[in-house]
C-alpha cells in the first residue's frame, strides 16, 4: 500500500505532461509577395518555446512554399524519418534528406527513402499581405 501511495504519484510526476502555459502564437514572418511561386524558401523567425520552467526565445526555420497567390504552406524543417534537416534540391525539384536519402515532393509527399509520412507542417495563413506562421499542425497544443 505504501509502495502504491508512493509510486503512483511518482509515475504521474514523471509521465503526465505538466499543465502549463501553452504558447500558440502566430508569428509574422514577412510579406507574402516576396515569396516566389512554387519555389521553396527557407524562412527564419523567432518564437517563444516553453521548456520546463523556462520560456526561451529561439530561432526557428520553416520551408515555405507559396503554392498560389493566397495559399502558402510551411514545412517543419526536419525529415519525418529521424529528424535530420533536409534541403531543397532545385535540380530535381524535390526536398532531399542527406541522412537516409528520403525525398519529398514540393507538396511534402514521400517520393523515396525510409520516411514514414509526408512532411510535417506549421499552420500558416495569410493575413492581408503578411505571412503568419503558427504552431505545428496536428500537434496536441
Amino acid at each position: 500500500m505504501i509502495a502504491g501511495a508512493l509510486s503512483l504519484p511518482a509515475a504521474m510526476y514523471l509521465l503526465v505532461p505538466p499543465r502549463g502555459r501553452k504558447e500558440s502564437e502566430w508569428i509574422e514572418t514577412g510579406e507574402v509577395s516576396h515569396l516566389p511561386l512554387r519555389t521553396p524558401e527557407e524562412v527564419f523567425f523567432r518564437r517563444n518555446r516553453v521548456d520546463g520552467w523556462k520560456v526561451t526565445s529561439e530561432k526557428v526555420t520553416a520551408w515555405v512554399v507559396r503554392m498560389s497567390e493566397q495559399d502558402v504552406v510551411a514545412y517543419v524543417p526536419q525529415c519525418t524519418h529521424l529528424g535530420c534537416a533536409y534541403h531543397w534540391d532545385a535540380r530535381t525539384g524535390n526536398f532531399l534528406c542527406p541522412c537516409h536519402s528520403s525525398a519529398f515532393s514540393i507538396e511534402g509527399q514521400v517520393l523515396a527513402g525510409p520516411a514514414p509520412r509526408p512532411l510535417d507542417r506549421y499552420q500558416a495563413k495569410v493575413a492581408g499581405r503578411k505571412l503568419l506562421i503558427g504552431p505545428i499542425a496536428g500537434a496536441k497544443s
Binding site: P9, A10, Y13, L14, R19, G20, W53
Partner: protein, 539 residues
C-alpha cells in the same frame, strides 16, 4: 516452476537464506512497540531518498534557476506539490523519529556495555540528519532559505580557530552565492546520503552483532523477529507514512519570495528543529556568542557521547531509571522552552508574496497599474476608502469601481472631486496627468476577488514600478504585455541577468551590450535598487 526459479536464485545468490537470516533473527522476549522507532527512521530515510531523487528530476541546482524550477514543480508538474510536500514534511518527521528513537534508547539504558559503539554511530546519524536539514534549507532559494543560510554560515565562520577555513569550505566567503549553493547541494545529495547509508549499515550491523538490548530482568527464552516484531514494525511504518502523506496532501509548503539579498525587512528564522539553538544565541552577546553557538551545542554532543561511559551500572528496570528519566525530561523541557521562546519572540515574517499558485496577481499587473498602487499608498487613499477589507469607510468602497466608472471620469474626479460628485468631501489629488493615469489604471484592475492580493504587493516592487513609469521605460520595453518592443521584453529578466548586471546596465548600457541604443540613466541608488527589484520580480 516458481519454486524451481526461487531455488535457482537462492543457489546462485543465497538470497533466500539472507532473507531468512534477517527475518528469523533472535530478539529478546521483552521487545515490543518501543523497538519500532529504528525501523521507522530507516523508512523515513528511504522516503526522503525517493522523493529527493524525484525532485531532482525537475530541479535545477543553481541560484538563478532553483527557485523557478521549484515553482515549476509545485505549480505545473503533476503531483509535484505532493512530492515536495512529502520531502519537506518527511524531513521534519525524520528528525522527530530519530530523536524519539534516541530518547527511547536513553530511557531504557540500551546504550550500556557492549553497545557503546552502536550508540555513538546513532549520535553521528542524528548529526547527519540535522546536516540534511541545514543544507536542504537553502535549496528552494527563497528569502527564508537565503537568510536562514546567511545566519548558519556566519555561525560557521565564527567558529574559534577553524572559522575562516570552514567559511571558505562552505563558499560563504563574504556572501552567499553560486559557490555556497553548489556546495550545499553537493553536501545534501552527494555526500550526506551515502554517508547515511554507510552509518545505517554500521549501526544495524552493530545492533545485529550485540543483539537488541533486552529489558532488565528479561530472562525469558528469545523469540524471533518474524512474525510478531515484523508486524509491529510494519504497523508503525504504516502509521508514520499515513501521517506523512496526510501532512503532504493537506498542508501546502510555502514557497516564499525569491531570495533577495537586499531585502532588509526580512527576519530570518530557521526551521523549527533549529529554533532552540537560534534562541540560545540570543542569550550570549559579543565575544560570548561562541558559547551559545558552539560550546554549549558541542558540550551537548559530548555529553551524549559520554553517556554510556558515565552510566555504567547494571541494567535496571526502566521504571527505576529515575535519573535518566529526569535528565531526559529536563532536556525536553529545555528544548521545548527555548523553541517556544523563539516562536514567541520572532514574529512570523510575512513572506507569502508568492503563493504556490504561480505568479501573484500583482506580478501580472502592467507597470502602470502597479505604479498606481504606489500612488494609492502615497496619497493615503486608504484613510477614506476601503479596498478589500482594509481601509476606512468614509468614502465609497473602490473594488467595484471598474464596473461603474471609466478612466476619463476617474481622472476628472481626481482633479476636482466636487465637480463630478457634488457634495463630495474628497480633496483634489495633486499629481501629474500621467500619475493620475496610473491611479486610474490600478482602480480599473481592482475587483473584490483580487483586492487583497493586489494591495499586498510588496513596496519594493511598487516603488520600482513607479520609477519605471517616471522614466518612461515602456516607450521602448514591454513588460506584462504593456509597452513597445523596440528594446528586449523585460519578462523573465531574472532568468537572464543578475541584479548587478541590470544596475550597471542602467548607468552604462553600451558597456554591457555594445549595440544597444538605450540611453544611460542616472538613477539614484534607491531608484536603481527599486527598479531592479521590480524587474527581477516580473514573471
Amino acid at each position: 516452476m516458481i519454486r524451481r526459479a526461487v531455488a535457482w536464485l537462492d543457489n546462485r545468490t543465497g538470497v533466500e537464506k539472507a532473507v531468512k537470516n534477517f527475518l528469523y533473527e533472535e530478539i529478546p522476549a521483552s521487545s515490543g512497540w518501543r523497538n519500532v522507532l529504528g525501523s521507522v527512521a530507516v523508512f523515513c530515510f528511504l522516503v526522503q531518498a525517493f522523493t529527493g531523487i524525484l525532485l531532482s528530476f525537475n530541479y535545477a541546482p543553481t541560484p538563478g534557476e532553483a527557485y523557478n524550477s521549484l515553482k515549476y514543480i509545485v505549480t505545473e508538474v503533476t503531483g509535484g506539490r505532493l512530492i515536495r510536500g512529502l520531502h519537506h514534511w518527511g524531513a521534519s518527521m525524520m528528525i522527530v523519529v530519530v530523536v524519539l528513537h534516541m530518547a527511547q534508547v536513553f530511557l531504557w539504558g540500551a546504550y550500556k556495555k557492549p553497545r557503546e559503539a552502536t550508540w555513538i554511530a546513532g549520535i553521528v546519524l542524528l548529526l547527519i540528519t540535522l546536516g540534511f536539514g541545514l543544507t536542504g534549507y537553502l535549496l528552494p532559494w527563497d528569502n527564508r532559505a537565503y537568510w536562514g543560510t546567511v545566519v548558519a554560515t556566519r555561525i560557521a565562520a565564527n567558529s574559534p580557530g577553524i572559522g575562516p577555513y570552514l567559511s571558505r569550505l562552505l563558499g560563504g566567503d563574504g556572501a552567499i552565492g553560486v559557490v555556497t549553493f553548489a556546495r550545499f547541494f553537493a553536501l545534501h545529495v552527494l555526500i550526506l546520503p551515502p554517508l547515511t547509508l554507510l552509518l545505517i549499515g554500521v549501526h544495524v550491523y552493530l545492533v545485529r552483532k550485540h543483539g537488541v538490548a533486552p529489558a532488565a530482568g528479561d530472562t525469558a527464552p528469545k523469540k524471533k523477529f518474524h512474525p510478531e516484531q515484523v508486524f509491529r514494525d510494519t504497523i508503525a511504518i504504516f502509521v508514520a507514512f499515513a501521517a506523512l502523506f496526510m501532512l503532504a496532501a493537506l498542508i501546502d509548503v510555502p514557497l516564499g519570495r525569491l531570495a533577495d539579498p537586499t531585502d532588509t525587512s526580512f527576519v530570518p528564522r530557521p526551521d523549527w528543529y533549529f529554533l532552540w539553538l537560534f534562541q540560545m544565541l540570543k542569550f550570549f552577546e559579543g565575544p560570548f556568542e561562541v558559547i551559545g553557538s558552539h560550546i554549549l551545542p558541542g558540550l551537548a554532543v559530548l555529553a551524549l557521547v559520554a553517556t554510556p561511559f558515565i552510566d555504567r551500572g547494571a541494567m535496571r528496570r526502566v521504571t527505576e531509571r529515575t535519573v535518566a528519566g529526569g535528565v531526559l525530561l529536563l532536556a525536553f523541557i529545555g528544548l521545548a522552552g527555548l523553541t517556544a521562546a523563539a516562536i514567541r519572540s520572532t514574529a512570523k515574517t510575512q513572506d507569502s508574496a508568492f503563493e504556490t499558485d504561480g505568479p501573484q496577481d500583482w506580478q501580472q499587473l502592467s507597470p502602470e497599474e502597479l505604479a498606481g498602487i504606489g500612488h494609492y499608498r502615497r496619497e493615503n487613499c486608504v484613510s477614506c476608502h476601503a479596498t478589500g477589507g482594509g481601509g476606512a469607510r468614509i468614502g465609497p468602497e473602490l473594488t467595484g469601481t471598474a464596473t461603474r466608472k471609466s478612466a476619463a471620469w476617474m481622472i476628472a474626479h481626481f482633479k476636482s472631486p466636487q465637480r463630478m460628485v457634488p457634495g463630495s468631501s474628497m480633496p483634489p489629488i495633486q499629481l501629474t496627468d500621467s500619475q493620475l493615469n496610473t491611479l486610474a489604471a490600478f482602480l480599473l484592475k481592482l475587483n473584490p476577488r483580487n483586492a487583497k492580493a493586489l494591495y499586498s504587493a510588496p513596496q519594493l516592487a511598487v516603488e520600482g514600478a513607479m520609477v519605471y513609469q517616471q522614466y518612461g521605460c515602456a516607450v521602448c520595453h514591454q513588460a506584462n504585455g504593456a509597452g513597445m518592443k523596440i528594446g528586449p521584453p523585460l519578462n523573465g529578466l531574472s532568468q537572464r541577468r543578475s541584479r548587478e548586471w541590470i544596475e550597471e546596465h542602467f548607468a552604462n548600457p553600451q558597456k554591457l551590450s555594445p549595440a544597444s541604443v538605450m540611453p544611460a540613466y542616472k538613477l539614484t541608488p534607491r531608484e536603481s535598487d527599486r527598479l531592479t527589484s521590480y524587474l527581477l520580480a516580473l514573471p
